[in-house]
Each structure stands twice: as structure tokens, then as C-alpha cells.
């Protein structure tokens, strides 16, 4: 009976999403592009009124930044922490906590400058190292001409993205890697994979530069490599999720399986903690996705609805698949599904219609479920907390899916043309190709950087703890404390 019920539930949802696609009557009024650039106030001509930050947008960006911090600490830390054994709980919390702090500092020293100043198509410059030259009056562009937010809050908002991405990777090799090795690897990976990817995908001169076709061409040539390729990534599907997912996959392949993998019980010690962490991630994700709009407007509301619906749909898809194929719907499955849906909608959230978001969520929930159960088993790698299965696969589905659901013919918003100040003509196959460029580049780039970085760390300090330390657990041996006392 319950098989029948869950089958029916899943299929009715799928067909519902399908029908809604057919009626693409949604009028699109505004659209944003995936990144903003900073504007030099000093260069503004005296004839034009001095631009100033929009107070409403600024207030929203402060809140959004706090929400993304909530995603990392404690959200991600608890999501991951609950899935390891009790003896390694603190090691996971600690890795996420310290990576967050370390990336924050690196971001201020050179990260922001390399990601978000003009340089070549792959790396930015060093002009804003140590946040040089930024003042309370400095402005960052949004996606509307003449609308700005303070550059400081843009720095902070982007900092949280730079901090969560490396923290995502630790799930892949949880329970077996030295703390010092984690930190050194993250330093290398952040510098050579996160920063260039962020620059390639998100750096552009800002909407104000797109005054006419000639100016647009000149401005376009300064943008990041994938931005120029037309790859859409609203809130970080490629930069954050595929990037981290690939680093995780390379990591667990190179580091090897945990002792006792598939022989002893490696069951999560507290699915309760994982549920709490997931819920915090879910709430925080509204800051992540909606904040990526940089403005508190109608499009922000669309992003909000898309984020909400995709995660709900993916939860149902994962739980439904599990119920049908394994007989029982699990809490861990529900939590995993929600995260898979959030990952998949991340690149698409500003261009998809709500029904497109449900469609993406359903696909991501079901395919990620297959990835962490069948694919992982078939390829026989020990991705402890399924960083690749959820973030890598979910990110790829989202990145490619963006090309489909963004289409105005399916109710998506299409892509805004800042010269014509209207929605540009949309080619779904062309857009999917652009998206594929993004996916291919991030897989190759992150894969290569990760491989080299793991090798360097392994040579310098060794990646893996000794067998004895792994048996005793990382909490006592690496950190000198235990999470729980009887």
C-alpha cells in the first residue's frame, strides 16, 4: 500500500510540474545578471548627481549576509556533524568553524581583490588587497542601472560565499584527515580554485557600463571568462557547489576510504543534529540566493519563492524515491533532499519560474538520491557525507537546468539585455551550451587544482591520520576533547 501511495505521490507531482510548464503566461518585468561590480564614486562626473547607496537594498544585504553566516555556522557544521560518528563530532564542527574564520581573513587580505577587481578573464588584480581604498562611501553596483549598495556589505556578503565553499568540501573526507592538512589544503584551494572561479563567473563591469553597443562590447571584454561565455549562475551553482563537489570527489579518491568502510557501522551519530543543521541551511539559503539579487525588489521575491519550492520538491522526490525503492522514508533522506534541491535551484533561482523551480527540485532530489546510493556504490569511493553526490551532482543538474528553465517559453525570465533595456531573444540550446561551458570549466579547473593541492599537502604534512588516531577518533586525538560525556 505504502509503495503505491509513494509512487502515486511522486508521479502526480511530476505531471503537475509538466502541466504548469505548458502555460507559460508569466510576464517578466525585470531581470538581473549574476554578479555586480564595484563602482568608483570618485570617477563619477560632477555633472551627474552623486550616486548613493539605496537604504532599503543596503538593509536587505546586511540581513542576507547574516543569514549566509547562519548557513555555515552552525548550519553546515551541524548538518555534517550529525552524520559522523560521535567520536568525530567536534572535528567536523571545528573544521567548519576554523575554515570560516580563516577564509574571512584571507578574503580581506587578497581574496576580494583577486575575485572582484578587473584583471584578465581568469584572475582579478591586486588593487584592493587589504581592502585598500574602500571607504563607507564606496559603492558596489547591483543589477539595475543607477542602483548601488555600499561596497563594504558587498565585500562581507561575498566573504560568506568564499567561506562556505571550502567548508563544504570537508564532508567528503570527514573522519580521517589531519586538521593541519585540512587548513593547508583549504588555503591552496581557496586561492587557486575558488577565487578564479568566482572571477570567471561573476566579475563584470556592472550595468552602468552598458550604455550602448560599443560601450557594452568594451565592458564585456573586461568581464570574467565564463561571464563572457554567457554562462548563467545566479547564486553559485558552479562557483560554490560544483567547485566544492569536485574538490570533495578528488579528495576522497586520493585519501582513500575510512577504516571499516562497508564492514563496520559508520552510521550517523545524530540525525537530529543533521535535521537542525539542514533547517538552518534552508533558512540561511534565503540569504544566499535572495541576497545574490543585491536588491530588495520583485525579482528578489521570485528568487525567494523559487528557493522555497525547489527544496520542498526535492525533499518529496528524495523521500519518495527512498520509500519506493527501499521501503522506508527516512529523516536523513528528507534532509539530504532539501539540500539537493537548494543546491540545484541556486544557479537558476533568478531566471526560473516557480514551476521551473519545482521541476528542478524534483529532478535533483531523485537524481542525487541515485548518486549517493547507486553511483557511489558502483564506483566504490568513500565520500563520507556525499559532498559530490549532493553538491557536485545537484550543482550540475542546476547549472545545466538553468539553461532550460530560464527560457521565457517555459515561464522563465530570459536574459536581460542592458543595451536594449529589455529581455533578449532566448535560445535554449545556445544557453544550455553556455551552461555546459561553465560546468566543464569548473570540473577541469577544480579537479586539477584539487589534485595538485592534495599532492602538495600530502608531501608537506601528510593528509591522513594514523590508523590508531582514526580508531580512537579525531576529537580526542586531534583536538583533545570529546563532544559528549556520559
Amino acid at each position: 500500500m505504502k509503495y503505491l501511495l509513494s509512487t502515486f505521490m511522486l508521479f502526480s507531482l511530476l505531471s503537475f510540474a509538466g502541466f504548469s510548464f505548458a502555460e507559460s503566461a508569466v510576464e517578466t518585468t525585470a531581470l538581473a545578471n549574476p554578479a555586480a561590480a564595484t563602482v568608483e564614486v570618485a570617477t563619477a562626473s560632477a555633472a551627474i548627481a552623486t550616486p548613493a547607496a539605496n537604504k532599503g537594498d543596503t538593509a536587505w544585504m546586511i540581513v542576507a549576509t547574516v543569514l549566509v553566516i547562519l548557513m555555515v555556522i552552525p548550519g553546515l557544521a551541524l548538518f555534517y556533524g550529525g552524520m559522523v560518528r560521535a567520536k568525530n563530532m567536534l572535528s567536523v564542527l571545528m573544521q567548519v568553524f576554523v575554515i570560516f574564520s580563516m577564509m574571512a581573513i584571507l578574503w580581506a587580505i587578497y581574496g576580494y581583490s583577486i575575485a572582484f577587481t578587473e584583471g584578465n578573464a581568469f584572475f582579478g588584480g591586486f588593487s584592493k588587497m587589504f581592502l585598500k581604498g574602500i571607504t563607507p562611501d564606496s559603492l558596489a553596483a547591483t543589477f539595475s542601472k543607477g542602483v548601488y549598495v555600499p561596497e563594504y556589505i558587498y565585500v562581507a556578503f561575498q566573504l560568506t560565499f568564499a567561506a562556505i565553499t571550502p567548508a563544504l568540501i570537508v564532508g567528503a573526507f570527514a573522519e580521517r584527515v589531519k586538521f593541519s592538512a585540512v587548513l593547508l589544503f583549504m588555503f591552496l584551494w581557496f586561492t587557486f580554485s575558488y577565487l578564479p572561479m568566482a572571477h570567471m563567473v561573476w566579475y563584470w563591469a556592472g550595468p552602468d557600463a552598458y550604455t550602448d553597443a560599443k560601450a557594452a562590447e568594451a565592458a564585456g571584454a573586461t568581464a570574467g571568462f565564463l561571464f563572457q561565455k554567457g554562462a548563467l549562475d545566479f547564486a553559485g551553482g558552479t562557483v560554490v557547489h560544483i567547485n566544492a563537489g569536485i574538490a570533495g570527489l578528488v579528495g576522497c579518491l586520493m585519501i582513500g576510504k575510512r577504516i571499516g568502510y562497508k564492514k563496520e557501522s559508520l552510521a550517523p551519530h545524530s540525525v537530529t543534529m543533521t535535521m537542525i543543521g539542514t533547517s538552518l541551511l534552508w533558512v540561511g539559503w534565503f540569504g544566499f540566493n535572495v541576497g545574490s539579487n543585491l536588491e530588495a525588489n520583485g525579482l528578489a521575491a521570485l528568487v525567494f519563492v523559487n528557493t522555497l519550492l525547489a527544496s520542498a520538491a526535492a525533499t518529496l522526490a528524495w523521500v519518495g524515491a527512498e520509500w519506493m525503492l527501499r521501503g522506508k522514508p527516512s529523516m536523513l533522506g528528507g534532509a539530504s533532499g532539501a539540500v539537493a534541491g537548494l543546491v540545484a535551484i541556486t544557479p537558476a533561482c533568478g531566471w526560473s519560474s516557480p514551476m521551473g523551480a519545482i521541476f528542478l527540485g524534483l529532478v535533483a532530489g531523485a537524481v542525487c538520491y541515485w548518486a549517493v546510493t547507486s553511483l557511489k556504490s558502483a564506483l566504490d569511493y568513500d565520500d563520507s557525507l556525499d559532498v559530490f553526490g549532493v553538491h557536485g551532482i545537484g550543482g550540475i543538474i542546476g547549472a545545466l537546468g538553468t539553461g532550460i528553465v530560464a527560457s521565457p517559453s517555459l515561464g522563465g525570465t530570459g536574459v536581460w539585455d542592458y543595451v536594449a533595456n529589455g529581455v533578449a531573444e532566448y535560445s535554449m540550446s545556445g544557453q544550455v551550451m553556455s551552461q555546459a561551458w561553465g560546468v566543464a570549466i569548473v570540473i577541469v579547473w577544480s579537479g586539477a587544482v584539487s589534485f595538485i593541492a592534495y599532492k602538495i599537502v600530502d608531501m608537506l604534512i601528510g593528509l591522513r591520520v594514523s590508523e590508531e588516531v582514526e580508531r580512537v577518533g579525531l576529537d580526542v586525538s586531534e583536538h583533545g576533547e570529546t563532544a559528549y560525556h556520559d
Binding site: M83, K262, S265, A267, R326, V372, T373, S374, S377
Partner: protein, 112 residues
């Protein structure tokens, strides 16, 4: 004197304690234990990884009684802990050579 050791389902613990009180047993020791018998364990599934849980939680009750009370106590426990389903547990009765009440130094049945 005899020592009765009963392994019962945890949710039957209160019923057993009540039944023993009713026949005048004045004290028991309870431990949370795990074990296996004919009742099979269960499997847990986490993202496709299947773990067989062989050892099931049970409550172990230890009670020391005078010779004349043994049958009555065993009966009380077995009646209270019975659900008729596999996994109800077992009762072991062993000889008890000596009992000392630490506070007063009383020994034997006086100490029960």
C-alpha cells in the same frame, strides 16, 4: 537465598517492578543492557548504506530473594514481562551464598 536475573523488554520494566512490589520484594537493581537471542536485530539504512543492528536494548533486573519467595518472584516477573512475542527475554535463577547490608552489617536473609 537465590539471585534472580531477568532480561526483559525495556518497556516492560515498570510492570515488572510493580509486580515485584506487590509480592513484597523490597529492592531490585536495574541495568540497561544489549544482547541478542532468537529475536533478530533490525537493519538501519543511511543514504543507501545498510547497517545491521544485531544487539537489541534490554533491561536487566537483578533481585535477591529468600528461598520461599523464589517461585512467586519468578512467576511475577514472567507474568508481567510477557507479551507472547519473540524477544520477551529470560529469567535466570542462581544460588546466592551470602548477602550483607552494608549500613548495619546484617547478613543472610536479614539483609534482604
Amino acid at each position: 537465598m537465590k539471585l534472580i536475573t531477568a532480561i526483559v523488554k525495556p518497556f516492560k520494566l515498570d510492570d515488572v517492578r510493580e509486580a515485584l512490589s506487590d509480592i513484597g520484594v523490597s529492592g531490585v537493581t536495574v541495568t540497561e543492557v544489549k544482547g541478542f537471542g532468537r529475536q533478530k536485530g533490525h537493519t538501519e539504512l543511511y543514504r543507501g548504506a545498510e547497517y545491521v543492528v544485531d544487539f537489541l536494548p534490554k533491561a536487566k533486573i537483578e533481585v535477591a530473594v529468600a528461598e520461599r519467595m523464589v517461585d512467586q518472584a519468578v512467576q511475577a516477573i514472567s507474568k508481567a514481562a510477557n507479551t507472547g512475542k519473540i524477544g520477551d527475554g529470560k529469567i535466570f535463577v542462581t544460588k546466592l551464598d551470602q548477602v550483607v547490608r552494608i549500613r548495619t552489617g546484617e547478613t543472610g536473609e536479614e539483609a534482604l
